[in-house]
């Protein structure tokens, strides 16, 4: 099956630092992929390149065969690629409901209905009229997750979705992610919680110093020498 997302030799530099170095990878539709690596390995920068927040200097990014590198972030999003952020970026002075309404182009009634469904999905329905800035960290994380679903993406990039979410909510969140996969959506997750990423992902990519050093199913990544060395150093 043709990949939904294809990265070829993507490179991003910040001054003298090469944050992402000739990274190539492909995501098939309807699967869950993980992206791991030590701090500063270029995971978030790679997400930023895919979503247009950073322009990559070299390489190509294709979504459904169309080149999307060089597009503005809103143009990327409208091609049905959605993302969340490592550091929460909700709109604090909008209510939880408005945070969802603001990102959709559905007619008003349909948008209200969909927004309420999504708030119910992430158990925030009773807080729909609360300003987002007044929600707890975990609730804001869930709100951001619901907001990205409101854009109805085919490819969802989740940057550390489990961070700061309590165990009960986390289990619901993980089940929601699996449900999205069942609906045919492709999920690409950056996560530091190894249990979460190993349980969820069908395939994992590993970055170190901006370079892809390994890719494969979780059981293979778990025992890969290069991955162990990247995380724990050479013994």
């Amino acid at each position: 099956m043709e990949n939904i997302l294809e990265l070829r030799d993507v490179t991003k530099r910040f001054g003298g630092v090469t944050a992402v170095n000739r990274c190539s990878l492909g995501l098939a539709p309807g699967k869950i992929y993980g992206l791991i690596g030590p701090n500063g390995s270029g995971k978030t920068t790679l997400f930023n390149c895919i979503t247009g927040l950073e322009a990559c200097e070299e390489g190509q990014i294709r979504f459904r065969g169309e080149r999307i590198d060089g597009l503005k972030p809103h143009q990327v999003t409208r091609r049905r690629i959605g993302r969340t952020f490592q550091v929460i970026r909700i709109f604090p002075e909008l209510t939880a409901l408005e945070n969802l309404l603001v990102v959709t182009w559905l007619p008003f009634d349909g948008a209200q209905r969909r927004a309420r469904e999504l708030l119910e999905l992430v158990t925030l329905d009773r807080l729909q009229d609360e300003y987002a800035g007044n929600l707890s960290y975990g609730q804001q994380k869930l709100l951001e997750f619901a907001r990205v679903l409101m854009t109805d993406p085919d490819l969802v990039l989740l940057d550390e979705p489990a961070a700061g979410v309590n165990r009960t909510l986390l289990n619901e969140l993980l089940q929601t992610i699996r449900n999205l996969r069942a609906q045919g959506k492709t999920i690409f997750i950056v996560e530091h919680d190894m249990k979460v990423i190993m349980d969820l992902s069908e395939k994992i990519f590993v970055l170190n110093y901006g370079e892809k050093i390994a890719e494969g199913p979780p059981e293979m990544i778990r025992t890969d020498e290069r991955v162990i060395e990247a995380y724990f150093g050479r013994s």
């Binding site: 002075e93 909008l94 603001v102």
Partner: protein
């Protein structure tokens, strides 16, 4: 409760509509000034209160409208009303020319660019003497009666408030607020922030253009220094901040209260009234950055439409 609010609004409008027939010319003139400030502060609110892009050059649109009207009336013999309405074309045109490149600037850079626009316009108006009268300005026939200007300026003030209400209760308004809250996140959620900022900027330039035209007709004479003073922009900012930026009625409330305050202070403390006004600016920024309605909104969970 809603009916009570609407009833109060209609009553106030009815009183304002018949007021010129029962009060002195001084009161009518003062009301004209208050209406002008409501329109100006409300217009500034549309770009700066909603999107967070602070414009320090909004008086440029006011001046553009004033000169458009003065030139059309004195050289082309237009009636003052359509000439003033032409300000809603020329000022947004200028806003488009300056906004398209400058709205890509973030934070203080946009504010400084707008400040520069004001100075450039003042210099240009002074330079093209044959067209604008240069430093001497343009004189217009003195107005015979105040009520037409009163109703025109009142209509502009009402127009800005209604427009603000319509925007804030729409998804366009929510998207403008999302730009203020986190522009990068808004962009990443599919919102074309550059386009929306430009729309807001054009709308925010239209009413100062019209009001500038009314002002030119009302004052019968305009010249560069009096038409493009930085103080006019600062006053609209303070009025908006004092009443509550990003709200519907905040700028109008701020314009009303501070106009009265200014009039009282000016009359009693002729030599230090500007120092007192400056102290008030510092106090507002330090003690009440969200303004009167912003504080009430937060404390009593009032809707965004106040």
């Amino acid at each position: 409760m809603k009916w009570l609010a609407w009833g109060t609004v209609l009553l106030v409008l009815a009183v304002l509509a018949i007021m010129p027939f029962f009060v002195s010319n001084y009161i009518v003139s003062f009301a004209i000034q208050i209406f002008m400030w409501i329109a100006l502060a409300g217009s500034w609110n549309l770009i700066s209160g909603l999107t967070g892009y602070v414009s320090f050059g909004h008086v440029a649109f006011f001046g553009t409208g004033a000169y458009t009207t003065a030139i059309l009336v004195s050289k082309a013999e237009w009636h003052w009303l359509p000439a003033s309405l032409m300000g809603s074309v020329t000022a947004p045109l200028l806003a488009f020319i300056i906004g398209y490149p400058c709205l890509r600037l973030k934070g203080p850079y946009f504010a400084i660019a707008m400040l520069g626009l004001n100075e450039v316009l003042r210099a240009l108006v002074s330079y093209f003497e044959d067209f604008t009268g240069g430093g001497n300005g343009i004189s217009l026939p003195p107005i015979a009666e105040l009520p037409p200007v009163y109703y025109a300026m009142g209509g502009a003030a009402l127009g800005v408030v209604v427009l603000t209400y319509r925007i804030i209760t729409s998804r366009f308004g929510l998207r403008l607020i999302s730009i203020r809250e986190d522009e990068l996140a808004a962009e990443a959620m599919g919102i074309d922030t550059a386009r929306l900022k430009l729309y807001a900027f054009l709308l925010s330039a239209a009413f100062p253009g019209i009001v500038g035209g009314f002002f030119a007709w009302y004052s019968s004479h305009i010249e560069p220094i009096g038409t493009f003073p930085l103080l006019t922009t600062i006053t609209m900012i303070i009025m908006c901040l004092f009443g509550g930026k990003g709200t519907v009625f905040g700028p109008a409330l701020g314009a009303f209260l501070l106009s009265i305050f200014q009039e009282m202070v000016w009359a009693r403390f002729l030599f230090i009234h500007q120092a007192i006004f400056g102290a008030l600016i510092v106090a507002v920024v330090l003690l009440m950055p969200k303004g009167i309605l912003g504080v009430l909104q937060e404390r009593y969970r009032l809707p965004r439409t106040i």
